[in-house]
Amino acid sequence: MKKASAILAILALSVPAFAQSGNIKIGGTWPLGDITGKQGSMAAQQAVDEINAAGGILGRQLELIVIDDELKADKGAAAIEKLVTVDNVDVLMGGMASGVALGQIPAMKKYGKIVISTGAASYKVEEALGADANWYFHLHPWDYNQGASYAQGWDEIQKKYPAIKIKKLFLAYEEGAFGKSSFDQTKILFGEGGRYVVDGAPFKSAAQGGGDYGSMLETAKAFKPDLFLWAGYDADALPMLEQAKAMKFNPGVYLGAPPGWPIGFQNSKLANNVMLYGMWAPSINDISAASKKFYDGFVAKYKAEPATYFAPLSYSAVYVYADAVKLAGTTETNAVIKALEATKYASPLGQTITFTPAKIIKHQGIKNQKILQWQNGRQEVIWPFESATAKPVYPFPKWK
């Protein structure tokens, strides 16, 4: 009897000690059927392997458990339940679509685990989180951050390059949630104080079975914009350019904001000098050692190029968390939250990640996007100027 209770006491004492000495578990949810989430999860694994090869954190190894969210809110929520209650992960990571995040938030709130989010741009996600979610660390900029950052970018570009004059702006947006929120934010942020005249029209993205841009481009052409911006998906990139050429629509700036670009876009004659919004491109390797290390590691490990910024962003999420655990000396939630607040991570995105308050949440990572341009087959960074890799080519060449 005595012996039994002694064993029990030892067990009881050793359980927390054991938990602290096993692997540090990271639970990731990404849409694995989509290139963004597939490569995001692969890049996170790359970071985990790098850290483990260098001896791990606090003498412990990292372990990444990935579950497919299938781009569905209910599947994403079930994945959170599994990672927290079955796998007992120390931290949650990942995410791409806002719709999935909105389904996951009730479960996240229930457990209060640290979440390092790599997606979910919609302001609705921030509203659903509320001001009390101090465990939520949002790396990806909110939609209104992006809008504000572009407005700032175009102001600064016009100041620095007086030849570039933009007054009228036309936004073609895919009719889903992504495009609609892009349009709403652009209208608000560019429309402010009458600096810009903004108009727009929706189109059905080729990714959703559309792909006919005729009537949208007709409206755009009639508006005679200085800057034509489209918010859609990679499937729209070339067909829209081809149709614009056929209709002889020739704006001064032709700019796209899809989450990724099609394979071989740069091989098209029409692609040169198209501008784009984004967070990362391989050209950032020239100005950032962290980017080069990430890029070379990814290509060596997976024999493929990172196609979207979700790869370096997810890679950064692992490092941000690992650095915080190292600083805190423990995986205990409150201590790690404190340590995360002190994050200063020179990320492969060509900028240092810190957490500052957003409109509602306290921990917002990246707030600005970049303005880039396709030049001779490469995406060059035009703005912000401190990470620029090339000067803008303006205006967009006339169709031949």
Binding site: G33, D34, I35, K38, E175, A201, P202, K204, A206, A207, Q208, G209, G211, D212, G214, S215, M216, E218, T219, Y233, D234, A235, D236, A237, L238, P239, E242, Q243, K245, A246, M247, K248, G260, P262, I263, G264, F265, N267, S268, K269, L270, A307, W399
Partner: protein, 307 residues
């Protein structure tokens, strides 16, 4: 007699409406016809299968996706033009369709219709996901200069390339009409479509005919998939929206009415573009499709009751 007068009236009415639209908003008619051609040329092979084998092939769009990827790989590797590649691709997809028919669909022909439907649903999932594993969801597109071919009339510049789809649809209709009425195999297929039991009694090999029709439809989808890559990006899920659209167009035309598919497509394409022409109604363009289908189907059922 009354029928003839009716038909003349209809033609006159349609011509008048088309002329009015042309004067009012020429692009509505141009864009409408261009999308109609695409809808029709994808739907016609499905209509052939539905009319003769009586199977709703939920993997129809995926067959086109497979053809598009084969064409893409072929053209990217050899620099061939898709219009040349469509010949070998059609042969490959015909064989592919035939094998799929023999391995799966044939086995389910005796089972209730619903089994065939869900079988093709399973095929659709597997094909999309296999493509996703092999090629990822990142889209691919080759660029061809002729796609941006343009015509100026006064102030109006518009693309003319996509009229090629109307041409393809017309070729398919004429070709199928000749095949089904002039050749022995075609006549047999038509007989099987109308009455498989009767056809079997007069000595037609029903199974062989089904296999042939499946291969022929797959070849047509294969050609379409090859041409499709000239103007559209491809990705694993690219085909699936066209399956439902095709299914609806066939129902609107009435099963077995292949020229009717083009008519339904034109009605649809032009109506969609009328809504797209106005700011306030632009977002509602998709609804036209479904309202038209219900109207046509209900209208036909009411007329059927009266007759």
């Amino acid at each position: 007699m009354a029928n003839k007068r009716n038909a003349t009236m209809n033609v006159a009415l349609i011509t008048a409406v088309a002329a009015a639209i042309l004067v009012w908003r020429p692009t509505v008619l141009i864009n409408g016809l261009q999308s109609a051609g695409l809808y029709a040329s994808i739907a016609i092979p499905m209509g052939l299968i539905l009319g003769i084998v009586h199977i709703v092939n939920l993997a129809h769009g995926e067959f086109m996706m497979v053809a598009a990827y084969i064409t893409y790989m072929l053209c990217a590797a050899t620099g061939m033009d898709p219009f040349v590649a469509m010949v070998p691709v059609a042969l490959v997809t015909a064989a592919f369709g035939f094998v799929i028919y023999k391995l799966t669909i044939r086995q389910a022909l005796k089972a209730p219709e619903l089994n065939q439907l869900i079988l093709t649903f399973g095929l659709a999932i597997s094909m999309t996901q296999l493509a996703n594993l092999l090629f990822t969801s990142q889209t691919r597109k080759l660029s061809f200069d002729y796609v941006s071919a343009s015509l100026d009339i006064g102030d109006l510049s518009f693309g003319v390339y996509k009229f090629v789809y109307i041409g393809i649809a017309l070729l398919m209709i004429v070709g199928l009409k000749l095949f089904l009425t002039r050749t022995t195999t075609g006549k047999a297929a038509l007989a099987v479509g109308q009455n498989p039991r009767g056809a079997a009694i007069v000595g037609i090999d029903v199974d062989r005919t089904y296999g042939l029709v499946f291969a022929l439809a797959s070849a047509l989808v294969g050609m379409m998939g090859a041409v499709f890559i000239t103007s559209a990006s491809i990705f694993p899920a690219v085909g699936s929206p066209y399956t439902m659209k095709s299914f609806c167009l066939i129902a609107m035309a009435g099963i077995g009415n292949i020229p009717g598919i083009l008519g339904a497509s034109i009605l649809l394409g032009v109506s969609e573009n009328i809504l797209k022409a106005f700011r306030g109604t632009r977002g509602w363009a998709d609804i036209v499709f479904f309202v038209l289908i219900i109207t046509v189907i209900l209208g036909r059922s009411i007329r059927g009751k009266k007759a």
